[in-house]
Amino acid sequence: MRTINNRYSWERYQKQIPDDHFYYARSCIRQNFFPGSEAAFLKIMQDELGLDVLDDAKHTSCTGIGYHADIVPLETIMTVVARQFSLMTEAGYENLVSSCITSFGIYTEILAMWHHFPELEAKIHEHLRKATGREFVKPKNVIHTSDLVFHFRDRIAAKAKYKLYDVINEKPLNVVEHIGCHYSKIFPTNGIGGAEFPYVLAGMIESWGGQVIDYPERRHCCGFGFRNYLVQANRGSSIANSKLKFESMAPYKPDFIVANCPGCSMFLDKWQYTLAEMEGVTYGPDHQAIPVLTYEEMAGLVLGYDPWDLGLQMHQVDAEPLLQKMGIEYDYTKKYLGKNGKYIGSPKPCNCF
């Protein structure tokens, strides 16, 4: 593998990332899977970096799941997206930052379609006017939240309490980075590093002291793709994709996986349990699975946030071995306590082995 030459290929693909004033579009599913991630993002951006990020209660799902499942027609999703743009315009913002990779793909795809088919954009203006009485202006910049964390990675590194460093074995942590397909495989120029060598997560890992693993199936899809799992009978294909990736990365002994897509983070986390139940295999050391983090959780750990505030107890794969490797101090007794101090329930051990 020509790693040395590939290492800098990402530099050809750069995108404009503004420095301040963002309209935040949340994901519809992330808050269920990884409930602390979006809160951590806002805390980092607003409290740590002092940026203007508007978390608007009025916006909705982009309906991307319905669109990719052939339930929501193209013009309908375009009108929903136009409404988000309208809310952004109304609030006085020009930079849209999307928390979800699917939404990010939807926004960039729709803007590209409107660019090539202006009559379609005119039609959507008409649809939105009729449906809501609103007008919209297209955003100047559409970025993904991981772009923003990447953009400010050095400022985050300057405030870091912990490094991506294994304090037990005294070596940088081996990290698998996984990029959601809709980040840059549809429009390579809209992602940092393009489709083949996206640098957005690798940049964060390197800035925060970790070591990126370059394994053969690095760019392979995790298998989440909506059509791949919405129908139960198709899930065999979905899990086969994840299995291929795990088998490919396991020899490199990753300490954890980080992903920038809601679906990838969820599937890479939960499929490890499913594979353990189905086949009795795990891919981490000592019959353990490999912890999976979102990039906000990774940033939160680096900044010294409480792991249970970040929601790490909600992961299928236990993140505690990783916390111990990083030398993070945490209170085990608070692991399964909610914000109000009440017990939230804890998982039962599986009978996988």
Partner: protein
């Protein structure tokens, strides 16, 4: 079916680095004209065995060149050696000799 309602799909990718080219090389040595194949499928279209079974000479050629010999051994015995494929081949490949050579090397 397990409690999940689905299994894990088998990999369908063909890893050419893991498959041995051994038998394919021996067949190509026996019948070098096979290298001229352009995959037009004329052989398959005219095949007598193909009329009666799912035998497909072009598929046989693919399986051979990819080193998928397990699938090949079940197929190759279906050929009746009528030679019509040889007559129609635009590249003049001696397809009957290819079939005989594959049978010989697979049986070793």
């Amino acid at each position: 079916m397990n409690k999940w309602g689905f299994g894990i799909n088998e990999k369908r990718s063909i890893d050419l680095d893991k498959n041995s080219p051994d038998i394919a090389d021996r067949v190509l040595r026996d019948e070098p004209s096979l290298r001229l194949c352009i995959g037009c499928g004329g052989c398959t279209a005219t095949c007598s065995a193909g009329n009666l079974t799912r035998f497909n000479f072009r598929r046989v050629h693919h399986l051979l060149r990819r080193g998928e010999y397990a699938a090949l051994s079940g197929e190759i015995d279906k050929c009746m050696l009528c030679g019509k494929c040889t007559l129609v081949c635009p590249r003049g490949i001696n397809t009957r000799n290819v079939v005989l050579s594959i049978r010989k090397h697979l049986s070793v």
